[in-house]
């Protein structure tokens, strides 16, 4: 009872002081507000980006092994040593690799991926989209379903027929109604493809803006080197994944150096993404924390000024029986209230901002960010408030009461 009464009194006392100097209180809290806001926003952005990329990989089927050029992903699932050459150089996979991999018994199907950003034109319209050269198994791997028409087949690929499945967004932009695209021609780099199918909306920018064509049909002006960016392997069962990876590696080692390619499972990719984003998040939070630190120093500064200003009050309180601890708690409560107030404001602002940004970019708030905002702002209040509060508490009562 006495404790509750005490805390209540401390809080009301602090608030009554804030009311008397609203501008000062607001400006002091502002530092913490900006700090918490930026930390929470940066976490939300990092988290959103991570969720987005993870989602991209998870939408691919299970038991999937991906072969990338270079050592992008190391064996341990960590980030490989030569990230740069990974995407820029390394192996350029060829059709010969696809046929060789197809002979491995643990591998159910092999999906070569050629991917290029290109201008697509049809119907007098032009858009910047992508040409994805692949085979019929790609639709299974990527869970692409049709809105209209049909998928291209194995024989379409072998005969290099100029047929295509058009992504939903590309179809909408080129033909305004995706359904009328069927049977129309789409031109990419002077090659004309007949649309035989339109895909359902995937919610993925690249896929929705793609023109999916049989990979052999790209050989020529679109893909003159006849190479692939990556090869996806569907494995017969989960237990066979390890063996399949080994066999795939052995197969490719006949043509390439060890460092020219990497054979990775989805789980390894996910754990690497996780690692990358943990590092990014730590860096972002560290940057955001600088503003928290500055905010904390602002609080300390104001609290020192407040203590000097209220020396007389401290003297009066000491004369009527306040102990040093009572005075310490009074000023500490004030600092923490000030700081937590800023923290809550920053959090609310970040919440609103997340709702707005979510329209354009995948951001996410989590409980950790909320707990962190409260925890960090109270910790800052305590840390930066304790020194001024100790000065107030250690004022000799007789000098404090005589202070004018």
């Amino acid at each position: 009872m006495r404790l509750r009464n005490g805390v209540y009194h401390l809080m009301t006392s602090a608030v009554s002081d804030f009311k008397r100097s609203k501008i000062r209180t607001f400006l002091t809290s502002l530092g913490i507000m900006i700090g918490v806001f930026s930390v929470v926003m940066l976490i939300a952005l990092g988290l959103g980006l991570k969720n987005y990329i993870e989602g991209q990989f998870e939408s691919l089927g299970a038991n999937l092994v991906i072969i990338f050029p270079g050592m992008v992903f190391s064996e341990e699932g960590g980030l490989g040593g030569n990230f740069g050459p990974g995407f820029a150089g390394g192996a350029h996979f060829k059709e010969r690799d696809v046929s060789a991999l197809d002979k491995v018994s643990e591998i159910d199907y092999v999906v070569p991926m050629f991917f290029k950003s290109m201008v697509l034109s049809a119907n007098g319209e032009e858009i910047l989209g992508y040409v994805t050269g692949t085979n019929e198994e790609m639709f299974t791997v990527s869970n692409i379903e049709l809105l209209e028409g049909e998928l291209f087949s194995r024989s379409d690929n072998q005969r290099r027929r100029k047929v295509a499945v058009l992504g939903y967004s590309a179809a909408q932009e080129l033909f305004s109604d995706p359904r009328v695209a069927l049977g129309k021609r789409v031109t990419a780099s002077d090659q004309r493809f007949t649309v035989i199918g339109v895909a359902k909306k995937k919610g993925d920018r690249e896929m929705d803006n793609s023109l999916f064509v049989p990979y052999r049909s790209t050989f020529g002006t679109i893909n003159p080197d006849k190479t692939f960016f990556a090869i996806y392997l569907g494995i017969t069962s989960k237990d066979a994944v390890e063996t399949a990876k080994q066999r795939a590696e052995e197969t490719l080692l006949k043509y390439y150096e060890e460092d020219d390619f990497s054979v990775t499972e989805q789980s390894e990719i996910l754990s690497t993404i996780n690692q990358i984003f943990t590092i990014i998040n730590v860096i972002l939070v560290a940057i955001g924390s600088i503003s928290l630190l500055v905010g904390g120093i602002g609080i300390m500064n104001i609290m020192y000024a407040t203590v000097t200003e209220r020396t007389k009050e401290v003297g009066i309180r000491r004369a009527i029986g306040a102990t040093q601890k009572d005075i310490l708690l009074q000023f500490l409560t004030e600092a923490v209230t000030l700081s937590v107030m800023g923290g809550v404001l920053g959090l609310v602002l970040a919440g609103v901002m997340v709702l707005v940004v979510r329209q354009f970019f995948p951001v996410a708030l989590n409980l950790l960010a909320v707990v962190l905002a409260f925890g960090v702002s109270s910790a800052i209040g305590i840390f930066f408030g304790v020194f001024p509060a100790r000065r107030a508490a250690s004022l000799p009562p007789i000098e404090a009461i005589r202070y004018e």
Partner: protein
């Protein structure tokens, strides 16, 4: 009740040591109405703050109810101040951001024991008795000096202390209001049986008390 034995208090003004109180021995008995008189700078206020345990002596001992307080910690001294002593100041020393009622109740916030009375009710009774009940929700700077000093006296009395220490309580008031405050101090000594110590440079004020302690240059010259 409160006893000082060969108490000294020295201050440093730069390099120079100044003796504010020298060799003072004094006994304050229950229910006494005492004045400490002397010219300004004679050490009478310093003596009062020593009696009120707001200041500590450079040498000598202070006993409260027969107990030596020189070895007590700061928080133990605070507890004694809270329960045993009530201060009344020349400049009232109310906290302006709190209302009269909140000021009066402040000592009860700092008490470490369970109170034998209901703070709210006791505050109301005392405010009534001192004629400022109507002003209880006013802020101190919105009421007159006399009313502020009455509020300060209620604050000093709320914990039912054994001794009220008043430092020039009429110094900031006109003579008529000062007279009223003195009457109230007299009454609370008589009606509440509280020991009252008034520090003053005014011989007329001192005359109203039962016992006068005269000081000069930090020493008691007559008691």
């Amino acid at each position: 009740m409160i006893e000082l034995a060969k108490v000294y208090k020295n201050y440093y003004l730069g390099e120079e040591e100044v003796a504010a109180v020298s060799d003072v021995s004094l006994k304050i008995k229950p229910k006494e109405f005492i004045s400490i008189v002397g010219p300004s700078g004679c050490g009478k206020s310093t003596l009062m703050y020593l009696v009120g345990l707001l200041d500590t002596p450079s040498a000598g001992k202070i006993f409260v109810d027969g107990k030596d307080v020189s070895g007590l910690s700061d928080s133990e001294l605070s507890v004694i101040r809270n329960q045993t002593v009530g201060f009344v100041f020349q400049s009232f020393n109310l906290i302006n951001k709190f209302t009269v009622l909140e000021n009066v109740l402040l000592p009860t916030r700092y008490t470490k024991l369970k109170l034998a009375f209901d703070p709210g009710r006791r505050a109301e009774e005392l405010l009534n008795k001192f004629g400022i009940y109507e002003r209880r929700n006013f802020f101190p700077n919105k009421i007159s000096g006399g009313q502020q000093q009455r509020a300060a006296m209620v604050r000093a009395l709320i914990m039912n202390p054994k001794v009220i220490l008043a430092d020039e309580p009429t110094g900031n008031l006109d003579s008529k209001t000062g007279e009223e405050i003195l009457n109230l101090l007299e009454r609370l000594n008589r009606d509440f049986q509280t020991t009252v110590v008034v520090v003053t440079h005014d011989a007329a004020v001192a005359k109203r008390t039962q016992r006068q302690i005269k000081m000069r240059d930090g020493r008691i010259i007559r008691s």
